[in-house]
């Protein structure tokens, strides 16, 4: 990233500072609700959106959404300020700033939405905007590929989620989360399991649970500020937010407990092991994000006050330290030009502020007192001990947390105090705009750890919202006495230190192991390849490029569907009575029949075209006889145009159709034509044998002049009663004309290139 930027370029621009100002103002706005929400209030804003479908644009601010809103806007403002400096002088920085701002707004909408459909819309908006952000370095094919992978995977989960939401709406009769959560658990509903599976599919893809995890490390192709934002407080927490939001409705069953515990547990252990394997520090942090997401999902599987308090506290502390660490890696990368864990070392002297921020954030990540990370871990252990699946939770938790201690040391100890390798650039301290973010977030982790009462102000209302009932609270304590969780913390720390001391040899073994397990990322590429191959295969099969094949297929389908319907349920066709026909009508019928026979029997192109025109004029005459002048005029003009255009084309075509006189497809064509004609005739006979329903005609006759002031009913329908339809039709006319225009021009170009090749003349005949 940094190569396109110019450190000396002016970085305080309108495009950069306006979003920062708006986001900071939003943070202050939401912070103003903190005392009220902490006291148990909730706020709801609602506007009618699609009232006929019971869909409203409604927002709900309670403890859970407030905590997320504060994290999104607070970290958002710091990250935007950081990005302005980080990408200073980048030619596409204004675009980046817009994407980031739009992403922030979508994320805010997602956590505030009360209506499930509105939530889904914001959910998809975060998917799209994150796609733009991950693929920001669009000149790099890897970046584009990774962005597309994230988009496809999370959007596929999003579709499952939509299906789940619609099921909820149908079975529960409401789309409002506030109403739904107040009604209690859905576990008794017959549709509970399908709903749960669909919602979990959405949440697990978004929050990158194994086996959908592989998009997240790849999303590191984005510039560092994006990673810091997407992977700390926002994008990937979307799934966790959803699980927390729907906790009152969906939790409390065995399925919920086991699914979340197993998926979350496997993800957390897998991710923390993989974090140890990485050399690029940004990748290391990406896997620790996965680990955090796994832990959060695992904790949300429980229903006790301890488990939920642990989840919410861990969510808060993880957002703080993860954003700080990502931003810190960006500062180091910016200053030294590398993120290689083996190369970076002894930077503390040159970059003291960065080292301090990194150290504080890493201590919180490792769960060392007196930081907030320690408190969160203690509560998590306390919750795990009480859980019905406690052996699993302790096993997963202990492994992951010990590995986190080791990773924290790799990320924050080694680069600053460890041995130094060959750095691409001499290190220097980062600019203030890039230090403010990590510094503020790291200090916040310390301050909230020392004064857990302030953290409780944020966490406890969120816990109450998730549990759906007021919780006893008061669990966030720096010192809870000598107990089992403290012992577990001690074991974690010791294990972690051992792991850190041996991490380089462990990493080699992990690399050896990784080469021997199936690679889901490569599997994804193969899946896409097969998909493309299938699409190409069916295109080759269906799109032959021959007009006759298309027409044959179209008419076969029409005949088959109509004939099957008639056979299955249609009444017998009444016998036609020819008695009432006058000489004039017999004459027109004869004209049409003669024209048709001439088209079929002639071998000269020009004769066929003119004979076709005769058929068309015969149809127009029928319209005139039955007093539909508008339709007749249109029909005549269209026939005229078709004949003229065909005649123009005929000048360039071989003069004779079917020069050899024995084309093998003609018998089949004849059978299909006769069938199509017979089926159409039968349908028309059946339709006309029914009594004519005059309701519409009466309405238009009565209101055409009275309401639309026109006596030509056809035209009044076109331009007034059904003007929207007409608008759609003329839009189609324009599109078709432009499409045909482009096609004709490209064909002629291709032909001049290939030196006037024969082309496919047979098809245009």
């Amino acid at each position: 990233m940094a190569e396109d930027t110019d450190p000396n370029a002016p970085w305080i621009t309108l495009a950069g500072m306006l979003p920062v100002a708006i986001t900071a103002a939003l943070f202050i706005f939401f912070a103003g609700y903190l005392p009220g929400i902490a006291a148990g209030d909730t706020v709801r804003w609602a506007w009618a959106w699609i009232p006929s479908l019971d869909i409203a644009l409604s927002f709900w601010l309670d403890g859970l959404s407030l905590m997320f809103a504060l994290l999104i806007t607070g970290i958002g403002a710091l990250v935007m300020l950081y990005a302005a400096r980080y990408l200073a002088g980048h030619p596409q920085y204004p675009r980046f700033s817009l994407y980031l701002f739009l992403f922030m707004l979508s994320m805010l909408g997602l956590v505030l939405a009360d209506n499930l459909i509105a939530l889904f819309v914001f959910w998809e908006l975060t998917t799209f905007t994150s796609y733009l952000l991950i693929g920001f370095s669009h000149a790099d094919p890897k970046s584009r590929r990774n962005a597309l992978q994230a988009l496809l995977l999370t959007a596929a989960g999003g579709l499952a989620l939509l299906a789940g939401f619609i099921l909820i709406g149908i079975t529960q009769g409401t789309f409002e989360l506030s109403v739904l959560n107040a009604a209690g658990s859905l576990s008794g509903d017959a549709w509970y399991l399908p709903i749960l599976i669909l919602v979990l599919a959405g949440a697990f893809t978004k929050s990158a649970q194994v086996p959908f995890h592989f998009w997240l490390p790849n999303a590191m192709a984005a510039p560092t500020p994006v990673s810091a934002y997407l992977h700390s407080a926002t994008m990937v927490k979307g799934g966790v937010y959803l699980l927390a939001r729907m906790h009152p409705s969906l939790s409390g069953t065995e399925v919920w407990l086991w699914t979340l515990t197993l998926f979350g547990g496997v993800t957390t252990v897998f991710a923390s092991v993989m974090a140890l394997r990485q050399i690029d520090l940004k990748q290391t942090l990406a896997y620790t994000t996965l680990m955090a997401l796994g832990t959060l999902v695992m904790l949300l599987g429980g229903a006790s006050g301890y488990a939920i308090t642990a989840a919410m506290a861990f969510l808060l502390v993880h957002s703080l330290y993860k954003a700080a660490l990502f931003l810190m890696i960006g500062v180091v990368d910016h200053a030294t030009g590398t993120r290689d864990a083996d190369v970076l070392g002894r930077l503390a002297g040159k970059m003291p502020a960065t080292a301090a921020a990194a150290g504080l954030a890493a201590l919180s990540m490792a769960g060392i007192p007196p930081l907030l990370g320690f408190i969160a871990k203690e509560v998590a252990y306390a919750g795990a001990v009480q859980s019905p699946v406690w052996p699993l939770l302790i096993l997963f938790g202990l492994t992951a947390n010990a590995l986190m201690v080791a990773v924290a040391a790799i990320v924050a100890w080694r680069p600053f105090f460890g041995p130094q390798g060959q750095l691409p650039r001499p290190p220097h301290e980062g600019p203030w705009a890039m230090l403010l973010g990590p510094m503020a977030l790291a200090l916040l982790g310390l301050a909230l750890g020392l004064a857990p009462g302030y953290a409780a102000l944020l966490v406890e209302p969120a816990v109450n919202a998730v549990l759906g009932a007021p919780d006893s609270g008061g669990r966030l304590k720096l010192w809870a006495g000598f107990n089992l969780p403290l012992l577990l913390s001690g074991v974690t720390l010791a294990l972690g230190l051992v792991l850190y001391l041996r991490h380089q040899s462990l990493r080699d073994r992990l690399i050896w192991l990784e080469a021997r397990v199936p690679d889901l990322d490569a599997g994804w590429d193969r899946l896409l390849e097969h998909f493309m191959a299938a699409a190409k295969g069916q295109t080759r099969l269906i799109q032959t490029g021959r007009l006759r094949h298309y027409l044959f297929a179209t008419f076969t389908v029409i005949v088959a569907t109509v004939a099957v319907t008639m056979l299955a349920r249609g009444p017998a066709a009444p016998a036609p009575s020819m008695g009432g026909l006058s000489v004039r009508e017999w004459g027109i019928a004869g004209l049409i029949l003669a024209g048709t026979l001439a088209v079929v029997l002639t071998r000269a192109v020009m004769t066929a075209i003119i004979a076709l025109g005769v058929v068309g004029i015969g149809v127009a005459l029928i319209f005139i006889v039955y007093s539909a002048p508008d339709v007749a005029i249109t029909q005549l003009l269209v026939e005229l145009l078709v004949v003229v255009l065909f005649a123009v084309a005929a000048l360039k075509m071989p003069p004779a159709l079917d020069p050899e006189g024995r084309q093998r497809h003609r018998p089949a064509d004849a059978v299909l034509a006769l069938l199509a004609g017979s089926v159409t005739t039968l349908v028309l006979l059946m339709v006309t044998s029914l009594p004519f329903d005059r309701r519409l005609s009466d309405f238009f006759e009565a209101s055409s002049y009275a309401e639309a002031y026109g006596r030509n009913i056809v035209n009044v329908i076109l331009v007034d009663f059904r003007a929207l339809d007409t608008f759609g039709e003329i839009a189609v006319v324009v599109t078709a004309a432009l499409g045909a225009f482009a096609l004709l021009k490209s064909v002629s170009k291709a032909r001049t290139r290939s030196g006037g090749a024969e082309g496919d003349r047979e098809d245009r005949a």
């Binding site: 508008d630 003229v644 123009v648 002031y709 030509n712 331009v719 007034d720 003007a723 004709l744």
Partner: protein, 140 residues
């Protein structure tokens, strides 16, 4: 087609057909006609002209490219539909204003969005068909 009779006749025919097409467009509200038919008649006029004198001359006579005419027509039709919004009506509701009277029967002038919409239809049909025919004539 290098026929002097045809090309001389075409010039007169074009003028007549164009006037006729506008006539058909305007009478459409109460008598057979309207934007679709008017546009088709106008297109026939230009196609006759293009056949007689070549597409280059026909396009020069149009002054604007037929694709642009079609797009402008679509824009006019859309704006006629949007014009209902300031009056608090649903999209594409016909809006009528009475000048010199207070109803359809008494007003001397009756400006309305329905006719504007029909003009849009006319231009779309004219532009699209002429564009298609000219491309066909040039390329085939």
């Amino acid at each position: 087609m290098n026929s002097i009779i045809f090309s001389a006749g075409a010039r007169i025919l074009v003028a007549l057909l164009l006037v006729f097409s506008v006539f058909m467009l305007l009478r459409g509200h109460n008598l057979p006609g309207g934007g679709f038919i008017g546009g088709l008649i106008g297109a026939v006029g230009f196609i006759v002209y293009a056949l007689a004198c070549g597409t280059a001359e026909a396009k020069a006579a149009l002054r604007v490219s037929p694709e642009a005419i079609a797009m402008v027509g679509l824009g006019i039709a859309l704006s006629a539909g949007l014009a209902a919004a300031p009056f608090g009506e649903a999209l594409f509701t016909g809006i009528w204003i009475w000048v010199g009277g207070d109803s359809y029967a008494t007003a001397a002038l009756k400006p309305n969005t329905v006719l504007v919409f029909d003009v849009g239809v006319y231009l779309v049909v004219l532009g699209s068909i002429v564009s298609l025919a000219c491309a066909f004539e040039e390329e085939v």
